[in-house]
């Protein structure tokens, strides 16, 4: 227990931890403030004005289509309609249905908590996962590269206990920041919705869904923090984790993405890691293959689809954590420390 407390103290004493945490929280706060400033509460007057604007838009479309139809018939009568400007049948030029022009197009942006909040949990999880990854990598990487780990092992020669205690302290520290931040995130957007949008139609089912998405977000932060820690421990340097991520993202993801695209592979996104992170947060992502166009009875094109579910993502994330952390523990146990 003394080692755990000491490691927690070491984590909180590090300037890098403090600055990165502060930076992450400032970015999150900036997102909330940004959403607050760019949204408005809609009153009945604004709604009526938007309806009128939609009507005007529809009337303009009707006038324009009538003008064009008349021009088409004139050109047809004059025999000059063969330049491709008009269709063969001028009656095809028609205004869109009235209901296709929606009043909400003419409304200022408003924050509807029920419809939008779960989307905001994605940047929340992404920002804190990045912060956790970097702090995790630095926490153990700096210990290795400055000789701190060797010093500690002279005091506590049980290597696996030392590494796992460090990880436990790190995750405790990250959760101590993430969980209050999540509560503030909920509260912040509730305030945004209250003052700059709507909090209507919030049922217990919706709340449950939001909480579950939040829990998945926290889990994602924990997973990325663990991976950063394990990679840096494996390479015994912070740069191993950061370099590894750059290599995976640049070569493994952008490069692979381009290669798969060139090779015309179906559902190329299924090979890319961010897809799974997104599927984890949104529960399901449907990939579409527009090259495989299945014509419907009405003649429209329906692409072939492939679903990536949060269950598949959970398998990938679990395997990733087990393999990378396992390798770090194995190296800690077996490799000489020099």
């Amino acid at each position: 227990m003394s080692l755990f407390r000491t490691e927690l103290r070491r984590l909180s004493k590090r300037r890098f931890t403090r600055y990165m945490t502060l930076l992450g929280l400032v970015v999150l706060a900036a997102v909330v403030v940004g959403v607050f400033l760019t949204n408005q509460k809609i009153d009945a007057g604004q709604l009526a004005r938007a309806e009128r604007q939609a009507d005007q838009q529809y009337q303009e479309q009707v006038r324009w289509s009538e003008q064009e139809r008349a021009a088409c018939e004139q050109a047809k009568a004059a025999g000059t309609a063969s330049d491709g400007r008009y269709p063969d049948d001028c009656s095809m030029i028609a205004p869109p249905p009235r209901d296709q022009i929606e009043a909400k197009w003419f409304l200022p942006s408003t924050f509807n908590f029920k419809e939008t909040f779960d989307e905001t949990l994605i940047p929340f999880a992404a920002i804190l996962a990045l912060v956790g990854f970097v702090i995790g990598a630095s926490f153990v990487g700096a210990e290795w590269s400055t000789g701190g780990m060797m010093n500690l092992l002279l005091w506590r020669p049980k290597r696996l206990t030392v590494l796992l205690t460090k990880l436990a302290a790190l995750l405790t520290g990250i959760l101590a920041v993430t969980l209050p931040a999540a509560v503030l995130w909920f509260a912040g957007f509730w305030a945004v919705a209250t003052f700059r949008g709507s909090t209507e139609k919030m049922t217990s089912g919706v709340w449950q869904s939001f909480v579950l998405t939040g829990v998945r977000g926290v889990a994602l932060v924990v997973v990325f923090t663990t991976i950063g820690f394990a990679l840096a421990s494996l390479g015994r340097h912070t740069a191993m984790a950061l370099g590894g991520v750059v290599a995976v993202m640049v070569v493994g993801q952008f490069g692979l993405g381009i290669l798969l695209d060139m090779a015309g592979v179906r559902f190329a996104e299924a090979w890319l890691l961010p897809t799974y992170a997104l599927a984890w947060m949104t529960k399901k992502i449907t990939l579409e293959d527009w090259n495989a166009c299945n014509a419907t009875y009405y003649g429209e094109c329906k692409p072939a689809t492939m679903d990536i579910t949060w269950q598949q993502s959970s398998v990938l994330l679990s395997v990733g954590v087990v393999v990378i952390l396992g390798a770090a523990l194995w190296a800690m146990r077996r490799r000489d420390i020099s």
Binding site: S2, T6, T146, P157, I337
Partner: protein, 336 residues
């Protein structure tokens, strides 16, 4: 006296596909008795640091037996680690923490009372600078901090690798006094150093390692005596008598090297026999001086690392026990 540290037949081999096999430790033996200040000497690359790292569980040995404070290590290391304070090679600390934070975190991890931090800071002379970040410290100050971290546990056995490295002359003297005081208080100190004059002054006993094997060990006086060549310098009343004296002594089986104004004799057991031999031939000695050896000359002789004019000795070119100076990387170096 009971042994605090015992090593028998310790082996450590590094294998590399590109560079082949290198025996860093090749059946190394060592014994340190309780309450002693023990010098651990060897040329660069001879295996000193590998021995200390292996002893402290940082390196896995390939063979041999190690006992620390009566416990077999590395298996029992968790049980004895609290009684062994050590610094290995150059002092390494997280540069952005203060000395006090560094020691406080170590004390926390080792369940040492926080008051001990102030005691060791006082002991190594860092009390007034303990609030400064380690990155602002000079090498000597970092060295003092390293010694403080090793003393934090109030250990029974203190292992210090090059503790005088970077210290100013006053610091070296303070360190010497500290070592002696610690030994007098009952602490056993193992000291690895290249400052052989210091070792000779401080240490009760020494172990000398070369190419992973022990080449000499025992109390400092005994090691010096064992490797004393029995060299004697003599001068005669008349320099013109030196050739005659050379003949007389050579016939008596003494190795003689002539110089313009004196003779150097080797293999002399009793200097009195020289005066008697010469006096019998009416040759009178005006000066007879036994040449004392020091630890440095013994070290250079045993490890065959004395500089030779015009030659550039390579790191692995030193003495292997029972053998000769190694000419190059073969026989223990990379690729052997």
């Amino acid at each position: 006296m009971p042994a605090v540290l015992e090593i028998e037949g310790l082996r450590k081999t590094y294998k590399s596909r590109r560079r082949g096999t290198r025996n860093a430790l090749d059946g190394f033996d060592m014994r340190v008795d309780a309450g002693q200040v023990h010098g651990f000497l060897g040329p660069n690359g001879s295996g000193k640091t590998t021995t200390l790292r292996t002893l402290l569980g940082l390196i896995r040995p390939d063979g041999g037996r190690m006992v620390l404070l009566g416990h077999e290590v590395p298996d029992a290391l968790p049980a004895v680690a609290g009684q062994v304070g050590a610094i290995v090679e150059s002092p390494q600390f997280f540069p952005h923490f203060t000395a006090r934070d560094t020691l406080s975190l170590l004390a926390g991890a080792g369940e040492v009372p926080a008051t001990r931090v102030d005691e060791v800071l006082e002991l190594v002379g860092l009390r007034d600078r303990s609030g400064e970040r380690v990155k602002t410290y000079s090498l000597g100050m970092k060295q003092r901090l390293a010694v403080a971290s090793a003393l934090l546990k109030n250990p029974k056995l203190l292992i210090l690798d090059e503790p005088a490295n970077g210290l100013d002359p006053g610091g070296i003297r303070e360190m010497r006094t500290l070592m002696r005081n610690l030994a007098e208080s009952g602490m056993t100190v193992v000291l690895s150093s290249h400052i052989l004059g210091e070792i000779q002054l401080i240490c009760d006993s020494v172990t000398i390692i070369s190419l992973g094997r022990r080449v000499a060990f025992g109390p400092v006086d005994e090691v010096l005596a064992q490797h004393s060549s029995g060299a004697v310098r003599i001068r005669l009343e008349a320099v013109s008598d030196l050739p005659v004296a050379t003949d007389v002594l050579t016939q008596a089986g003494i190795r003689v090297t002539g110089h313009p104004d004196h003779l150097m004799l080797a293999g002399v057991d009793k200097p009195a026999s020289v005066t008697r031999l010469l006096a019998e031939k009416n040759l009178y000695v005006s000066e007879l001086a036994p040449i004392a050896v020091d630890l440095e000359s013994v070290f250079l002789e045993l490890t065959a690392t004395a500089p030779v004019p015009g030659q550039h000795r390579q790191v692995d070119e030193s003495m292997k026990v029972g053998g000769t100076a190694q000419p190059g990387p073969a026989g223990g170096g990379w690729g052997a």
